[in-house]
Symmetry: D2
Subunit: 394 residues, 4 copies
Amino acid sequence: MKGKMRAIKLFCDYEPKKEYRLTHYELTTKKIWDSSSVWRNPRVEMVEVDIPQIGPRDVLIKIKSCGICGSDLHFIEYDEDNYMLYPGHGRFENIILGHELSGVIVEIGSEVVDFKPGDYVTAEEMTWCGECVACRNGFPNQCERLEEIGVTYDGGWAEYLVAPAKLCWNINGFKEIYKDEKLLFNVGATIEPNSVAYNAIFERGGGIKPGHRVVVFGCGPIGLFGISQLKKAGASKLMVFEPGEGRRKLALEMGADKVFDPAEIENSGNRMEDVILEETNGQGADFYLESSGATEVTMPSMLNALSVNAKIILVAWPPKPVPTDFKKMFPRASQIYCSMGHSGNGTFENVIRLISAGMIHPEKIITSSYPLLKGIEAIEVAKKREAAKIMLNP
Amino acid sequence: MKGKMRAIKLFCDYEPKKEYRLTHYELTTKKIWDSSSVWRNPRVEMVEVDIPQIGPRDVLIKIKSCGICGSDLHFIEYDEDNYMLYPGHGRFENIILGHELSGVIVEIGSEVVDFKPGDYVTAEEMTWCGECVACRNGFPNQCERLEEIGVTYDGGWAEYLVAPAKLCWNINGFKEIYKDEKLLFNVGATIEPNSVAYNAIFERGGGIKPGHRVVVFGCGPIGLFGISQLKKAGASKLMVFEPGEGRRKLALEMGADKVFDPAEIENSGNRMEDVILEETNGQGADFYLESSGATEVTMPSMLNALSVNAKIILVAWPPKPVPTDFKKMFPRASQIYCSMGHSGNGTFENVIRLISAGMIHPEKIITSSYPLLKGIEAIEVAKKREAAKIMLNP
Amino acid sequence: MKGKMRAIKLFCDYEPKKEYRLTHYELTTKKIWDSSSVWRNPRVEMVEVDIPQIGPRDVLIKIKSCGICGSDLHFIEYDEDNYMLYPGHGRFENIILGHELSGVIVEIGSEVVDFKPGDYVTAEEMTWCGECVACRNGFPNQCERLEEIGVTYDGGWAEYLVAPAKLCWNINGFKEIYKDEKLLFNVGATIEPNSVAYNAIFERGGGIKPGHRVVVFGCGPIGLFGISQLKKAGASKLMVFEPGEGRRKLALEMGADKVFDPAEIENSGNRMEDVILEETNGQGADFYLESSGATEVTMPSMLNALSVNAKIILVAWPPKPVPTDFKKMFPRASQIYCSMGHSGNGTFENVIRLISAGMIHPEKIITSSYPLLKGIEAIEVAKKREAAKIMLNP
Amino acid sequence: MKGKMRAIKLFCDYEPKKEYRLTHYELTTKKIWDSSSVWRNPRVEMVEVDIPQIGPRDVLIKIKSCGICGSDLHFIEYDEDNYMLYPGHGRFENIILGHELSGVIVEIGSEVVDFKPGDYVTAEEMTWCGECVACRNGFPNQCERLEEIGVTYDGGWAEYLVAPAKLCWNINGFKEIYKDEKLLFNVGATIEPNSVAYNAIFERGGGIKPGHRVVVFGCGPIGLFGISQLKKAGASKLMVFEPGEGRRKLALEMGADKVFDPAEIENSGNRMEDVILEETNGQGADFYLESSGATEVTMPSMLNALSVNAKIILVAWPPKPVPTDFKKMFPRASQIYCSMGHSGNGTFENVIRLISAGMIHPEKIITSSYPLLKGIEAIEVAKKREAAKIMLNP
């Protein structure tokens, strides 16, 4: 397809901090593992660019919805030295953002057999090569040549997106459950963050047994989606710690059994572990999902309220090393897992099935949606962190 | 406690079939692995016996409820040669039956520290020694000196029962959710069969991932409890095959998404696998729970509708060798697990938590309850297989 | 590269048996799941054909060694109705055979980055698409569009082979351990069958714990390679049942602790399970690798000598349904896995590491090697089943 | 048995540090979780005491060998404030030390059926009750009422020991492989520390796949036994970091492929991760066993050289919180396990099988053995940390 389209771009300056040792990978690809040490002066702009062209194994997606993610905000926000806040992987020199997306296929490459124009789809953001050793060994999220939609190449805050067909998942089945098309695509655009939570909980963490008692820290979208999944997996008591009142309310709607305000606990002279121990008759929680990123604060509480064989799953990246008192884990036969990505292992497929079956309802946390052209304004609203999930609809 | 009590006893004759090779274990213990080859002329009788006496590590339970299990019926029923139908483990010469039980502790042994008189409890039926190699290695259901309440020693179709304290589980917490005491204890008495299903699905079979598509064959209590657990664990489509109309209805109440009558399928010229494949877009089911025992019939259907990496869990014992076309499993990377028992691995604990949290509702399948004194009559009703679960209340 | 090359082709007639229901997949691809029901009158011929041309993501390999596999023989041999013996997957109308191969890369496609001309390589036979749902979910051996080198498209009984680069594995490191180039490549060509055994044991079967007691049935190459791997994984007692005297000797060389001739056991009035039970103090074996294909005979022996939590791994396809007395598995908490293929999960990588470290020695079972031009003669020798492994060297 | 015996006792003063919050468990049992915060002025003495009496489920063992463990030294050594160095669990007021033991049964309790006088045995040190929830759920090392031989009650630095029969393991089979009785019992006394390593590696950590590349930090006995087990489990490259030259030499004897002196690496301007990355072609190690306790130093090296899906197993307790840069774990899909104890899961059984099969040789690290009566002197020698393993022979 030829023509122009509107899109929201991020521009940054490549200024590695002196103390940051760039690896060979980073030097040769400009994909940086700690973006906060390299990308400076981030700024977003609404631009007009050519509609991108597909290769033989790609599809062209007319974007219908694309979310604003917490990571997106960290790409845009910066510290006192004007360095990007985001401590993860990215190539941000000049890129269309947006990686939680859905839309309609409008063109397919000559070798594409699994999709046809008109298909409703979402796409994995992790763009695994499929041929490196990590990919061949079943770890697409650890692809040695990892690219990421809206993070290392152009994403979905745009009217059109080119994606490899192998990343796309058909959501035509949503038509049976979501009669409103806008809602359908907004929900479709949440499959990516849902899958990040699912990958952390069920693939990396091995999931729970029905009856387990579970704690979630932090109610950004990953935490909230994690809550609904954990409840559907049979958590018999789901405790949530979150400072924001609105988000605590959402947590209850998503399936939390009990929500707690950490500040209030502190004010009452208690610690979070006291609450967890009380709620579990002193046994401690069986499963922790750390999606707050404030791991320095939550780690001691987790370590002091471990059930026997408890699992701790970190899905939010702690920006700095966390003092971790492993001594507490030995008598409890416990473990810590770190989770990145969402690809592989049936994750997208299972999330789509759960939504199609009406078992999880991501729409509950969609606060509002804006036309793409009001995207810059929407970003400003999102920066206030009052909303759970804001969508852009090109 | 001294005195007399009423109880229902089973009497059998020990007449090993000629072709049955008794093992050393069987000869020395009279615990027979294939009871249908040894125990003859089973007959039940209401008797009056002494209230049993506790040892230092036992508790005396005043029985409040005890279920009639499908196995109990197979203990009592016999074939054309008057041999017991039950093909499993048992010592049935002279025994009080009943192994799905709940009650109130009325006495504790001198070394018991985890319970006190007045505690509401249920008990594991599997009586593991805790000291043999299998027990030490974490396989209590495979105890080398396995005894079983109501199967190798006196059970719960009685006013009182002596059980080792280590088999008991506290259900005082049920008081918060079941205000009716009779209902509370009837539900308490279903923890054992619930745990048989849970052990099969989650411990032996490793459970499902939320979103998986699941098939259950057979809607006796194990199948029905399995259905409610699988749905709570996140099955996105739960298909059930069961010939009995009433049981199909119960399956829907317990959480099945679709129920099918095998006879009707056959009449329409189809096979069960055709239905499963159609319901799963040709992918096949991810998880099978075989609780019908008609494995000769269900196995081919399972093998022809396997998803990639599908699991088949047999929880009902097929009485005879089953012709199994393993060829079908190779391209699907599939596996078969057999499950016996319910002890260990947090199973009782998790089932109790799920019930306490109001997440599973065993009472939905309790058809009726009879006073113990009408137990013989209740057994006759149960033999008709129209009811799901009949309870005796001493 | 242009020019002619010599190769050994198989020709068959496509004559589906009347009772065989061809699936849509089979009809549209001519890839047949039960080849013994469709492919008739197999015949091999030495031919001269064009050297094949590479695509952008392929490599051209100058074949240095290619094994004759038991499956190859079943492709060529036929029953009384002239149907091929092989009961598995294949498209055999007109195909160069050979799938256990090694060689030197002589050309690479324009998009290939992981290999360069001169690299010593072997290749996976399973040709997974990398884009279907099974592949995306981490099951390349279950690829929905599976092709197989030397089984559905031209293989390695030829001077040159075209293979997708993503299937190749670098074995340059073998130069340090194998100074003789012919030996190096002969060993390189055994990585494929080694990986079939490894996939069955360690990926599908989850491996053993050091100290486990293990039984292997059948000492074809898969069984023999399995033996060496199981010993290296810590089997404390490795028992092998194999009728061929020469193969029993090889089993000992590969690491078996005890070898038994099933015929001799039978003659002495015993059964194989008696031997296993005696060797394990009555506990039974922890792990079974069934690589004989005579599963109808071995299954009862396995089921009668199961340790608690024993695993049975079928890697040889039983041609017919096997009467399986699952009753024996319940009290032993046991399971059966079926394994096909060798791709994914680090399998090729780990096998290559083990050989590079001198920890397993596949050369011990290479009986002889023939020039490709004497391939037809070599096949005749192989058909006698006296040799373990015969290689062709183009 | 009546009479007197010689034994080595530890005496301490119970003086909880002010800042240490004693839990209810600690207050009521005097079993302290952080002994270094409570037990003061430790001193050992050779004493004469009554031979202990057995209960109905106990055995009386005539001790033949008992090791001096690194923990034993930490029980005896103290800091500048005279507090015991050991940061773990113990009740040290007045106790016979020694928990790595072997001997001959001389008396059995009235209910003991698995042992008879004359049996050669070793015993688990972890004394699990078998009846608490943790025990019932299969976690004996996490027993809620955990006692420990030689740590919370009288141990094996004595002529006789009473142990519950359920903790004992028969080693009569060693007679076939160790003809020298003293050697037999010395090896028997190493089963306990061998099992600590085995539990960490194979039970808690899930073991390795053959071909994996492995790093061990620290070559005390746990590290050295871990090395021999990991090699027997198929590690294709086993790298060891240890400052002591003698211990590095032992590491090679136990199966290490490469040993490194951390000081030397540092002197050359490198870090340990540089070495690991170089030895693994930049891929990082698949499995880490941290048995040095200097986790503050080793953690950064591990985190910078993680393979995809790498496992870190901590078996030595880091005395203080360790700053842990989890950010490094996300892109590598990695995890950390902490391991305590040795009971359950077939661990003792498998270790005994490996020794009986001549597959691991604990005697290689036994430096010397002393008569019990020279025990105080032996302890002084052990304190120098020049020896690997010193045994006491009563």
